[in-house]
């Protein structure tokens, strides 16, 4: 296992909320893809059924933090300063994927964009833009 993959494993294993969501993530080279398998407790609308908007937001925020644990390793978890989530489609009762793009890492703050999709990446379900306070900064 590469050093980056080890850092990711440690991050995912240490954060209890990652287990609550049931989120996983894998590295292919320096590209990380996070997956959120469908689970009944993630539903926000039982009639459709659809994932809770907060779950999609939370999954994308954790994707950003997981990506930062790889690209900006620190002994402590980085802190979220703000996030802006845009919802494009309902999250269906199926697996969701997300990828984070670290746009800028400054001395104190990182800017990260995240995209979430289900059947096809060309049909995103949601976007997130966030600023994160780098731990140890």
């Amino acid at each position: 296992m590469s050093e980056a993959a080890e850092r990711l494993e440690i991050f995912l294993g240490r954060v209890p909320y990652v287990r609550f969501l049931g989120m996983r993530a894998e590295l292919a080279g320096d590209e990380m893809t996070a997956t959120l398998p469908f689970a009944p407790h993630l539903v926000g609308n039982v009639v459709m059924p659809a994932l809770h908007g907060g779950v999609l937001g939370a999954f994308m925020e954790m994707t950003a933090l997981a990506q930062l644990s790889v690209t900006s390793p620190a002994p402590r978890v980085h802190k979220t300063i703000d996030i802006a989530i845009e919802y494009l489609r309902p999250g269906k009762a199926q697996i969701t994927y997300a990828r984070a793009d670290v746009r800028k890492v400054g001395r104190q703050v990182a800017n990260v964009h995240v995209e979430a999709w289900q059947e096809a990446r060309s049909k995103p379900v949601a976007f997130l833009r966030g600023h994160f306070l780098l731990s140890g900064a």
């Binding site: 240490r14 954060v15 209890p16 909320y17 287990r19 609550f20 969501l21 009944p40 407790h41 993630l42 539903v43 926000g44 609308n45 039982v46 009639v47 459709m48 659809a50 994932l51 809770h52 908007g53 907060g54 779950v55 937001g57 939370a58 999954f59 925020e61 954790m62 402590r76 978890v77 802190k79 979220t80 300063i81 703000d82 996030i83 802006a84 989530i85 845009e86 919802y87 309902p90």
Partner: protein
Amino acid sequence: MSPEALREIARNMVETVPQASALGFKLRSIEPSRGSILTPWREDLVGDPDTGVIAGGVITALLDHACGLAIISMATDSRTPFSTATLDLRIDYMRAATPRADIIAEAHCYKLTRTIAFVRAHAYDADPADPIATAQAAFVLKRGPVA
């Protein structure tokens, strides 16, 4: 709609929606244009294992849900009940939530058109004047039964 009927819909929305019940949400109050929800701290919801601070994702879901509740409260002024879908949600995290403390979210739907609701919300633990996070959101309304 009577206050009792509204409270029943609100309780249903806060305590039986699967994600809300998985997080342990409890209805605090509902009145026209405003709603409030409480969520307890739980070890399995921790986002920072070094401090025990609850994950931002829990606050995101709580604020989103409180916003939806504030919108549903406007159903008193409407013949047709509706469900809501989040269009966008912006959250500022002012400080870490206190470990082991309950978190309260209060939301206010300050403008409702036929199709869109505009909502502000904040989350705090001990003191409403010392917020953990604030939110600004827009929702699309879907006419029909409340989901």
